[in-house]
């Protein structure tokens, strides 16, 4: 390394020394380690999963009988709003982010993400944003306009309380966190790959993370715009969605769904990536049609932009717009179908092991296919005119979101838990967990299909007696509780695993990708030596070189001609890990206070400004690494 003459640097006055604690609360607050941040994401979002699940059970109790008065109408509105908002923004997205954090550096053979401090900042903003939005329960004014926040119902005229203000401010804060994480992961995946790992040697999960992150980068700003517009409407009396002032409530639907449809792919693509890792491992076969899976993911990410008006078929956009969006919506089912066939092809002829992780993945395929099919049904405007705003749509999106995204994520948890903690989750409890979840889920959401066909509208707090809806609703409620038992079994499994400590080695499942090549749990620096990658599923071929011939016909391997990268890491003898830092936390606190300021008054905003400046200046003047004591 070249040495340059030392020059002075800007030094920001430090109020405390550089953190270096390895244990205790400060080691978490000041951490920049992607694994610790991943754990934080996982724990926090699982907590919100429990909260949102309880909200769902309350909703189900209310709906179990006709004319029930277990919940007041206002309470019901708040509950279904917060259930949706929490599940989407505080559970599925950050649970996926937990996997991104844990796995991306391990899968691409890096020691950390591209911007470790920015990564920590994303987490802190997410944590504070989630608290901010749920704080509304304590003030007694929880948001009540639905997770879609339709105008004008979400405007001050019809919704004078503070609830929806909490909602927009909270979502805007969370949006900053997601965009920062998205930028970080795209940069990481493009720029931090191990030597030899070209784009088309990356694991599928990494690919899906890349597509998801690009979608996050491009879609979340639109949510921010919708949020800012609604916020100024609510707080400063502008007219974006106020027809008395010349605005148009339909504009909200456009902007929201312009974000909203890419968002549903943000939710599902990581789960698709997880499943594409689990299936090959337990079928002991490489994924069938790697390039097709990758391209289908990328195509979904692109086409997802041109279908948003299928949420607006009954708004009256006119026949031309409706037909166009109907066609594009049907088309987007094609790459989705391609993926399903690839997964089936992966299973075909494999020597399958039915571990819990595998069962969850199989459940994913089945349930997601059902949800996809009902999606194609309401891709047709005349059909959708019958289904819009009924429980049929509720059934659709729960089949794709719970049966899809969450089953996929649970599959990932069972699959990677040994890697994260070093111990197995119990298989017996796991299988029970799966069975309860799958059965409970189907009893809960299956009947909603015919409830919707029978015309039961969604978003209502109760229904009349003689509609013939009672039986199905009662079944759904019972299913909900069975599902709840499934979740309890999972928690029990986690505790069981922590007590019994059944040790898993570095590679318990005979894995294929790089994360299995390091110890479980991985050391702080991930890899003792940065791996050199030659093949896709490189770790597998290192273990079983005799299978190379089988997968690469005639045993001929196209070597990377531009392999100059591999030389580079050879002379890298030192492990440089980024040092810990308090500033992401400080900046996160500043942004949280700023959000609270928008909810209360200008003085709080004034308090947040110096904190943010402190965080920013301290951050930018603090070197990523302090010089090492040995003068390196």
């Amino acid at each position: 390394m070249t040495t340059k003459p030392a020059t002075k640097s800007l030094v920001f006055p430090r109020f405390f020394p550089r953190p270096n604690s390895k244990t205790g609360i400060w080691s978490w607050i000041a951490t920049v380690d992607h694994k610790k941040i991943g754990t934080l994401y996982g724990i926090t979002s699982f907590f919100w999963f429990i909260v949102a699940g309880l909200e769902a059970l309350l909703i189900r109790i209310q709906l179990s009988q006709a004319n029930n008065d277990f919940l007041s109408p206002d309470m019901y509105n708040s509950l279904f709003t917060m259930h949706g908002t929490t599940m989407i923004f505080l559970v599925v997205m950050p649970l996926s982010a937990a996997f991104f954090n844990w796995l991306i550096p391990l899968q691409i053979g890096a020691r950390d993400v591209a911007f470790p401090r920015l990564n920590a900042l994303s987490y802190w903003i997410f944590l504070f944003g989630s608290i901010l939005i749920n704080f509304s329960w304590i003030t007694g004014e929880a948001p009540n306009g639905g997770w879609f926040g339709y105008a004008p119902n979400s405007g001050v005229t019809f919704n004078p309380g503070k609830g929806m203000t909490y909602w927009v401010v909270g979502l805007n804060v969370l949006g900053i966190s997601s965009i920062a994480a998205g930028l970080n992961f795209v940069t990481t995946i493009i720029n931090m790959r191990a030597p030899g790992m070209s784009m088309f040697k990356m694991p599928i999960f990494t690919w899906m993370t890349l597509v998801t992150s690009i979608l996050i980068i491009l879609a979340l700003p639109i949510l921010a715009v919708a949020g800012i517009q609604l916020q100024t409407d609510r707080i400063y009396g502008t007219h974006f969605f106020n027809s008395l002032g010349g605005g148009d409530p339909v504009m909200w639907q456009h902007i929201f769904w312009l974000f909203g449809h890419p968002e549903v792919y943000i939710l599902i693509l990581p789960a698709m990536g997880i499943v594409s890792e689990v299936l090959p491992t337990f079928a002991r076969k490489p994924i069938f049609g790697y390039s097709f899976v990758v391209f289908a993911g990328a195509v979904i990410g692109f086409m997802g932009w041109f279908v948003w008006s299928h949420h607006m078929f009954t708004v009256g956009l006119g026949p031309a717009a409706n037909s166009a969006f109907s066609i594009s919506t049907m088309l987007i089912a094609v790459p989705t179908g391609i993926k399903i066939f690839n997964w089936l092809g992966t299973l075909w002829g494999g020597s399958i092991r039915f571990n819990t992780a595998m069962l969850f993945s199989l459940g994913f395929i089945a349930m997601f296919t059902i949800g996809g099919l009902s999606g194609v049904m309401h891709a047709s405007p005349p059909t959708d005119a019958q289904q819009q705003d009924t429980y049929f749509v509720v059934a659709h999106f729960h089949y794709v979101l719970f049966g899809g995204a969450l089953l996929g994520i649970f599959s990932g948890i069972y699959f990677w838990w040994p890697k994260f903690t070093g111990y197995f989750l119990n298989e017996k409890i796991g299988k029970l967990n799966f069975i309860f979840m799958l059965i409970g889920f189907n009893i809960q959401f299956g009947p909603m299909h015919w409830l919707g066909m029978d015309g039961m509208p969604r978003r209502i707090y109760t229904y009349a007696e003689n509609m013939g809806w009672e039986g199905s609703n009662l079944a759904a409620t019972i299913g909900g509780f069975i599902l709840g038992v499934g979740v309890l079994l999972f928690i029990y499994n986690v505790i069981y695993s922590m007590i019994h400590k059944e040790v898993a080695g570095a590679d318990p499942w005979d894995g294929r990708t790089l994360e299995w090549s390091t110890s479980s749990p991985p050391p702080e620096h991930d890899f003792d030596e940065i791996p050199q990658v030659k093949f896709r599923d490189d770790f597998w071929f290192k273990k079983y070189p005799e299978t190379i011939k089988e997968y690469y016909e005639h045993g001929e391997i196209e070597e990377d001609t531009e392999d100059k990268l591999s030389e580079k890491s050879n002379h890298e003898d030192e492990i440089h890990l980024p040092d810990m830092s308090y500033y992401p936390f400080i900046l996160g606190v500043g942004i949280a206070i700023l959000g609270a300021g928008f909810l209360s008054n200008i003085y709080i905003i004034a308090i947040s400004v110096p904190i943010m400046i402190w965080g920013l200046l301290g951050w930018s003047m603090e070197p990523v690494n302090d010089p090492h004591p040995d003068g390196h």
Partner: protein
């Protein structure tokens, strides 16, 4: 504290990436792509609501093209100052670099002065974000653009200080370069705003029949 480690960090950053591109620069470009969607949504909101105000003042009654032309020109010149600053920083001409960065700060501040004057003036003419849909879309869009400029000004001032102190040098010029990318992006957003809001709609009259609605 020795500076050596810091310098090496910067070099490592570029040399050890898979693509040979700087992480920071890549992230800045990604961020700009993201900001495209942000401003894109606001500009389309403006366009969709164009000519839908129910009460005055209408664009033709408030917009003042000569003044805005001057402020547009100033923002363009600040971009010129920005590239010159980067050029001199890379050439190791510290004083020139510092001066040009300060030039960016100055021109940006003048631009913000114009915006402040304009907002004030409009308020005197009776146009606020609450008056009509033109006011709503106009103020929020240009205001958010102004917010971007303000952040840029603060960032540049910080960098000017660093360049003056000698901590921003040719070997970490990437820090100025990404700030510059941000600055130029804010400039091109203004290019579009100037065309779409000012030039195209400056002669927008009250919509036909709107008087009937009021009376």
């Amino acid at each position: 504290m020795s500076e050596t480690a810091v310098i090496n960090n910067h070099q490592d950053e570029i040399e050890n990436t898979s693509t040979g591109l700087s992480n920071k620069k890549l992230m800045m470009w990604l961020f700009l792509a993201s900001d495209v969607m942000f401003f894109g949504a606001f500009i389309s909101t403006y366009l969709i609501y164009r000519g839908k105000s129910l009460v005055g003042p209408y664009p033709s009654e408030v917009l003042d093209i000569p003044i805005t032309t001057v402020s547009t020109f100033i923002l363009l010149m600040s971009s010129l100052a920005m590239v010159l600053a980067l050029h001199y920083l890379k050439e190791n001409e510290k004083n020139k670099a510092t001066l040009w960065i300060l030039g960016v700060v100055l021109l940006g501040t003048i631009f913000m002065g114009f915006q402040f004057y304009e907002f004030n003036h409009f308020a005197h003419l009776g146009l606020t974000p609450r008056t009509n849909i033109f006011g709503t879309t106009f103020f929020i869009l240009t205001g958010l653009h102004g917010g971007h400029v303000t952040i840029g000004i603060l960032w540049m001032a910080f960098l000017a200080y660093g360049s003056h102190k000698g901590t921003l040098r040719s070997d970490n010029a990437i820090d100025l370069e990404i700030a510059g990318l941000y600055w130029h992006f804010v400039d091109i957003v203004w290019i579009i705003i100037f065309t779409v809001i000012y030039l195209i709609s400056a002669n927008d009259m009250p919509p036909a029949g709107s008087e009937l609605l009021i009376h």
